[in-house]
């Protein structure tokens, strides 16, 4: 596979109370079109990744809504897969250009969440879980706390190693002008933040955010750019909807499977990855991701991350140079697309202060629910 990424764009992520969904969409799309030197009419199809427009906003039919926003009638689709909506939208867009159905496809991940109160949002997000989990009254921090406890029990993962993930991601985000939180935090601050679902504390959890990201892809083999970036693998796998159906709570099998297929598709191994954007909805999720993707051995990721082995300027692969979900923000449907946009920027060498030096191969890892669906993309800068 060699899918050209012609252009990328992202909005600021954060509490964007005075920015409407249509404006967010236009901002991200305009940036991607400019980046690609294309006009709106050059686009053949639109894929929109979003989870909560219906539950929180009373609005479905986003394909049609945003096609109207683009100003002309093109084929348009909403793709939903909880927090993997963005990644899944990219995957579907890729399939559509691979099949030859569309030539140039725009993918936009977008979410507006911050106009609602935390308990409404927590409840809405549980639409990505199992109905028995909802009936039991658990919410996502609780589900990931269960994963954290399993990981701690088997591998003696420490709380300070969880905190190290958040500290690193805030450090990275301090170089990202689009990030929701651009300040560093200390391990003490994480430890003193209020418990949310033990062992996870407030600063172990990604925030509620608004934001959008856009990419334009095409099946052309030669992009006219100084450093063209291509998607060389896109794979999806699913596992049980809820935690109770999993075989092993210390790993997300869907991520392992999607990762394996992706590495195969691209003809590379985990050791070839220079930079990765993984789904750190909670600090434990990044630790598990690094093991699932084969960056570190099982039970080893926590200590390696705490030692700086995935930190900008220190380790390899550098994980979440954008600040990840924790510090860059997590507008649910936008994340999967933003991850692609970040890796493209890195591989083009255009990431400024957060540039991973010499990055040639990148990976994105986007998870839906507590691991019910996983989407992995591999990108390379190729001639």
């Amino acid at each position: 596979m060699k899918i050209a990424v012609l252009g990328v764009g992202t909005t600021k992520f954060g509490e964007l109370w005075d920015v409407s969904p249509r404006t967010l969409f236009r901002e991200a799309v305009n940036e991607a079109l400019e980046d690609a030197h294309l006009k709106i009419k050059d686009i053949d199809a639109l894929y929109v990744g979003n989870m909560l427009s219906g539950i929180l906003g009373g609005q479905e039919n986003l394909g049609a809504l945003f096609a109207e926003e683009l100003g002309f009638s093109l084929p348009a689709f909403k793709i939903e897969g909880a927090c993997a909506s963005g990644g899944l939208a990219v995957h579907n867009a890729i399939n559509s250009v691979l099949s030859g159905t569309y030539k140039r496809v725009l993918v936009v991940g977008i979410e507006k969440m911050t106009d609602h109160n935390p308990s409404e949002i927590a409840q809405a997000l549980m639409a990505g879980g199992h109905e028995e989990e909802r009936a039991a009254g658990v919410t996502f921090p609780g589900l990931y706390a269960i994963l954290a406890r399993a990981h701690i029990e088997r591998y003696k993962t420490q709380e300070r190693e969880l905190a190290a993930v958040s500290v690193k991601n805030h450090y990275h985000a301090s170089f990202n002008p689009r990030a929701q939180f651009q300040f560093e935090i200390s391990p003490d601050q994480v430890h003193q933040s209020p418990p949310v679902a033990e062992p996870l504390r407030l600063l172990d959890c990604s925030p509620i955010s608004d934001g959008a990201a856009a990419i334009i892809i095409s099946n052309i083999k030669n992009i006219k750019r100084r450093k063209p970036v291509y998607i060389t693998a896109s794979s999806v796998a699913t596992d049980s909807l809820g935690l109770a159906g999993r075989k092993d709570l210390t790993s997300l099998a869907a991520a392992v499977e999607a990762g394996k297929k992706a590495y195969q598709m691209a003809g590379i191994s985990p050791a070839d990855v220079d930079v990765a954007e993984v789904h750190d909805c909670f600090s434990i999720a990044e630790i598990i991701a690094c093991e699932d993707l084969g960056f570190f051995g099982k039970g080893k990721a926590a200590s390696e991350i705490a030692r700086g082995e995935t930190r900008l300027g220190m380790g390899r692969p550098v994980v979440n140079p954008s600040g990840g979900l924790k510090a860059c923000g997590h507008p649910v449907g936008a994340t999967g697309v933003k991850q692609i946009a970040e890796i493209v920027t890195q591989l083009r060498g255009e990431a400024g202060k957060r540039q991973v030096k010499g990055a040639k191969i990148g990976l994105t890892h986007n998870i839906g629910g507590s691991g019910a669906v996983a989407v992995v993309h591999i990108l390379e800068s190729l001639k």
């Binding site: 509490e15 109370w17 005075d18 911050t114 106009d115 109160n117 935390p118 209020p194």
Partner: protein
């Protein structure tokens, strides 16, 4: 700049009951220290079962009259600002007027604007006084607001009242009101629909787009208008929805801790809504020396802010002893349990 408007008497009232924030937190399974730290409040005042905005307003008004040493009949206008008027239709101002013995020859008006209803009353009275249409007016800010159990506001919503008598004779001024400015917009951060017992709010949205935008807006406009700087003031008082917002906004405006602290009463009484900034002002007037400038800015959700520049005068020192002080009511307290609090606030 105003020439003929000043405070000639002021009065406070706090109900006797207090509930500790730690008591509320332990009922809901929260770490009390975390709540206290994050809100900057450790106990709040709770109205008794037979108290409401009107009863509290009457006592605050009585204290203001005592201090002003005028006959109630001389009061020609009464504004009562509250977001918990006992009636949707029936004026609090005339119940207060009757209880205070004002007679019949006065203008009465009820005001509502979330927590800043009373300060709009000050601006109205200022107009009447400056235009020589009245000699004395009374403005009261009083609230005994309901709040939904387990809502974050349960830790902050308090009860209390403050009353100011304003006059136009310079020799009677305890503090002259030199000027004011307001900032208003349609910003729905906190509201209560008619017939619904508890208010709704938009969480974090009440911060920057609500409180900070409007308080800064009014305050900066007034400083510009009067060509004054924060360093010209001995005291600053802001509306106190919690212990953090006034500290942050005073910092942003350029005031320092020593200017803010004397009027920062929220930690011990919570947020008595329409009485909040006025009780802070009363506390400051109880300790200020003559010739000191006070900067006062209220905030009301929905949203708006009224900002005032005041200067204390010589008569303040003697006359403030004529009525029970804020300190008197602050120290007169009895703690209640959460279940008693539920009973007092008619939830059980």
């Amino acid at each position: 700049m105003l020439k003929n408007v000043g405070i000639v008497g002021f009065g406070s009232y706090l109900p006797q009951n207090r509930i500790k924030i730690s008591e509320i937190a332990s009922v809901w399974g929260k770490n009390p220290n975390e709540v206290i730290q994050s809100l900057g409040i450790w106990e709040k005042a709770v109205a008794g079962v037979d108290e409401d905005a009107v009863t509290m307003g009457v006592e605050a008004g009585q204290n203001a009259l005592l201090m002003a040493k005028i006959s109630p009949h001389e009061v020609q206008a009464v504004y009562v600002g509250s977001e918990s008027h006992p009636y949707a239709v029936n004026p609090s101002a005339t119940i207060v007027g009757e209880a205070l013995g004002l007679g019949n020859n006065y203008l009465a008006s009820d005001l509502e604007f979330a927590c800043k209803a009373a300060t709009a009353g000050i601006e109205n009275l200022a107009g009447l006084l400056e235009a020589d249409l009245i000699n004395y007016g009374l403005v009261i800010g009083a609230d005994s607001s309901q709040v939904k159990p387990h809502d974050i506001l349960e830790y902050t919503a308090g009860a209390g009242a403050a009353g100011l008598i304003l006059g136009r004779k310079k020799e009677e001024f305890l503090a002259q009101i030199l000027d004011f400015a307001s900032y208003s917009s349609d910003t729905p951060d906190f509201w209560r629909r008619d017939g619904i017992p508890y208010p709704s709010h938009q969480g974090r949205f009440t911060g920057e787009p609500g409180y900070f935008t409007h308080v800064m807006g009014a305050a900066q406009r007034l400083l510009e208008k009067t060509k004054m700087k924060p360093s010209d003031f001995s005291y600053c008082v802001f509306h106190m929805p919690n212990g953090k917002f006034p500290c942050e906004v005073s910092k942003r405006l350029g005031f320092n801790k020593s200017q803010l602290e004397p009027g920062l009463v929220v930690g011990e009484i919570g947020n008595p809504y329409s009485a909040s900034s006025l009780l802070g002002l009363c506390r400051v007037l109880e300790i200020a020396r003559p010739g000191e400038r006070v900067f006062l800015t209220s905030y009301g959700s929905g949203a708006g802010a009224d900002s005032f520049v005041l200067e204390t005068e010589k008569p303040l020192v003697k006359k403030r002893k004529l009525a029970p002080s804020f300190k008197f009511y602050l120290e007169k307290k009895e703690y209640v349990s959460y279940s008693t609090y539920l009973k007092l606030t008619n939830k059980i």
